[in-house]
Symmetry: C2
Amino acid sequence: MIRILLADDQALVRGALAALLDLETDIEVVAQVGRGDEVVAAARDAGAEVCLLDIEMPGLTGLEAAAALRTELPEVRALIVTTFGRPGYVRRALDAGAAGFVVKDTPAKQLADAVRRVHAGLRVIDPDLAAESLMAGPSPLTVREAEILALALDGSPVATIAGRAHLSEGTVRNHLSSAIGKTGATTRAEAARVAHSNGWL
Amino acid sequence: MIRILLADDQALVRGALAALLDLETDIEVVAQVGRGDEVVAAARDAGAEVCLLDIEMPGLTGLEAAAALRTELPEVRALIVTTFGRPGYVRRALDAGAAGFVVKDTPAKQLADAVRRVHAGLRVIDPDLAAESLMAGPSPLTVREAEILALALDGSPVATIAGRAHLSEGTVRNHLSSAIGKTGATTRAEAARVAHSNGWL
DNA sequence: ACGGCGCCATGACACCTGTCACGGGCAGGT
DNA sequence: ACCTGCCCGTGACAGGTGTCATGGCGCCGT
């Protein structure tokens, strides 16, 4: 019997996945949480063996939760199950110690198989996404550039960004200009969009 | 036995919802589609009585699919089940003839109830979202302003937008300026973000 | 020790944007 | 007929933005 924990901020999806997986005779859903910062405690209390983690969650990201699991409960395996197949996410997930990466538009049948493989110690990675991730390569952005771009995501003017980052306006413009060049964009809004869709933020 | 159709572009969520609803003894999932433009045909072939529609789908939007259902199969009831609780979506869903509106972070237990109520001819609307929708009021944007803002969503410069809309640059700037004023933003990127998160695009 | 790279900053310049004033054309309502 | 509101366009202006050159600081690898 494989004991699994579900982490997804959408209660409906969480409950539906539980119903789906409970149909399998060798899988048992032993815990459900809606926040990333509840994963470790719930996994420990319930004695989970595999954790299905969504990425976009309040509290902690699924990626951060995977990293926390690796240090706190190393024997528990993390399987990222997310809506967005952003190429950069795959690398960051593996770096965080995740054992698998599946997108939400894979057939429902395959989810149970992925859980079993991860439980058996194998790595499971969506093949299309793996190829895309290799094609796109790692993020060309430096840490600061990514930070600034993240602050520019909502379309704030440079002055606001500079204030939030405690930097000079000129410096912000330089970082943005560099990021625009690296992403092949012509505007900081476009650069932010590109970087975000690649999972670089 | 209530015969329902599931429309969601994420196969995993679709399958999971099917598993969840099949647990109910009085509900039967008779069709599943992953695109908006397959809803009407599949509903007719399978003899569905209630259609669960996601909004973000390839082909046709869930809102557009609901409108198509109303004209083609008036006896079939549409229940919008979406990730994003954008206030403007509620109004547009009702205008499109939808019988209900539920967000994906409602408890799983309530979904079956919502289906039963819709099947019985009642309207089901998430109460928080209904309040928010009334607070926010209808979209203040004119049709063109919304179009232009939609083209500005990806951060393209004015010249590109003008080209895509077959308009003068000056006109585009005027529409954008007006939209910025109405949304309370200071940048077109921010205005686009606000309008998008309110479901005005 | 030296060069390379990232980070922060300044200043200057061309260009893009947001705003305003103004005008014409076209519907819908009184 | 009149007014109102939306759509499209022009022109001009202040301010924001993207780019470049330049410089100083710290860190790392050889």
